[in-house]
Symmetry: C2
Subunit: 294 residues, 2 copies
């Protein structure tokens, strides 16, 4: 596995691969890689000829939380080992001053899809994400990019970014990885206290309760939200619900009063030392069909 | 000359040319082409193997001036004739809904260089310019882009855009075209009344007065501005000065109190039916040398 810090060297590598007719997949990360990233790398290795991954802790997506940025965990040796073992061909490790050569003179602004779900409590976060992805997409020039549906709002916004700026890039949204008991995999799960860990599978069960309501014919957004909330009221003792929302996906709003098309049920729950998020997407169009990308 | 409206077709054409090892030059325009554009096309034909020009009246750079956008002059036959005669190989004529497929969900924000010169009176204008250029640069994927120094602020901002987003594009800034008497060529010059047209060459002479002051050793920004203003007070009867400014270029601010490096003297003057702009850039570094890009 190649490790590169210089955009020009990376660009040259990608060009040489494309000249050979090879497709280039790209997985952008902030490092401290875990099984969620591994599943993206593996998907990329299966569906692209060459896999580029980046490790870059992007300072502009932390908002006012300077501490969070400064204390973001790092494990460069572990990252390299995991990436290589999952079929990554090139690890791109640029410096902040390389990616932001003139500070924030020119940035990207996301004008829709940001005021809901996690975006509501993180003003400017997705502007930072879209800004760094624009830079990385231009440097790497991949054919396919891979993002996890765990952060479904990010996936929806990256779709907007790709469409808006006409990047010739296909986006593959990878399903949420779950433990055997249904809990969505997350590096934050280790911060759960034993009682909290026992309770945490209820989060996914609450989402499934919402899906059941839809499958049983419910088409009112508020009543589906209420059914999920009711499930949590009955089944959560430690967890405090941050939000439960039901929206069209990837629009991230209620497209019509009466639910139609693809929708997302998304939740965030706070525990003592960890805030967990999870979601399901479901097609409730003409025919009520499969849960997509799960 | 090819005329294309579909980004996919244009992308395919550019790819095929690059595969042949040809360099691709790009001149973005809003149409109603005149001699200024012709000089950009000719420069592109001289320095790139293949020349793409776009005609696209960008709705997002007009700010609140909806009328200006609706009444922007159009001459598609004249444009095609002029472009072809100047060596343009492909004219790209996309529709608004093609360039903005999802409205303004994601846009570009220019955070520096916008609050001076013409940007001061046009809030949001350069955000619109940077947004549409990001889209066009991604679609066309040129090796070189050509802009006229007439709009020196735009050139400075496009440089920031290219650097910030890491576009693998070289920018060539083309010199201002002038009439024999020094008046900068502009489609607006025909709107000058006879007396105004006789007076208008004084604008450039005022800029030259500022250059003379620098050549004579003056290094104080405010005193150079004052010397240009004084020239206009003495020589302009009809024209009303909108601004005179002296700034480092391309930073568009005073980098140090005492002038050093490359600087721009820029002015705008209002006449009855036209507002004219002009500028000169001059290197006043260690050695006072040539006027660049003029």
């Amino acid at each position: 596995m190649l490790q590169l810090t210089d955009p020009a060297a990376l660009r040259e590598f990608v060009k040489s691969q494309k000249r050979l007719g090879k497709s280039v997949g790209f997985v952008p990360t902030m490092g401290y890689l875990h099984k969620g990233h591994a599943s993206l790398f593996k998907k990329a290795a299966e569906t692209s000829d060459v896999v580029v991954a980046s490790v870059f802790v992007n300072p502009t997506q932390f908002g006012e939380k300077k501490d969070d940025y400064d204390n973001y965990p790092k494990d460069s040796q572990g990252d390299a080992r995991l990436a290589e073992s999952c079929g990554v061909n090139v690890l791109f490790l640029p410096k902040v001053e390389t990616i932001y050569p003139n500070g924030q003179q020119v940035t990207v602004k996301v004008n829709e899809k940001t005021g809901v779900l996690c975006g509501k409590s993180r003003p400017g976060h997705f502007d930072g994400v879209a800004t760094v992805l624009t830079k990385l997409f231009t440097i790497v020039a991949p054919d396919i990019v891979y993002f996890g549906m765990k952060d479904a709002q990010q996936v929806a916004i990256v779709r907007s970014l790709i469409d808006s700026f006409h990047f010739p890039i296909k986006l593959i949204a990878c399903p949420i990885m779950r433990e055997a008991d249904g809990l969505a995999k997350s590096s934050r799960n280790v911060r759960l206290l034993p009682d909290e860990r026992r309770e945490a599978p209820e989060l996914y069960k609450g989402l499934q309760a919402g899906c059941s309501a839809i499958r049983n014919g419910e088409r009112n957004f508020d009543r589906i939200i209420a059914s999920v909330r009711r499930y949590y009221e009955l089944h959560l003792q430690s967890g405090v619900v941050d939000y439960v929302d039901v929206l069209n996906y990837p629009e991230l709003k209620r497209v019509k009063d009466k639910m139609t098309g693809r929708i997302i049920i998304a939740i965030a729950v706070r525990y003592a030392n960890a805030r967990l998020i999870d979601n399901v997407t479901i097609d409730c169009g003409n025919k009520i069909s499969e849960v997509e990308a799960q």
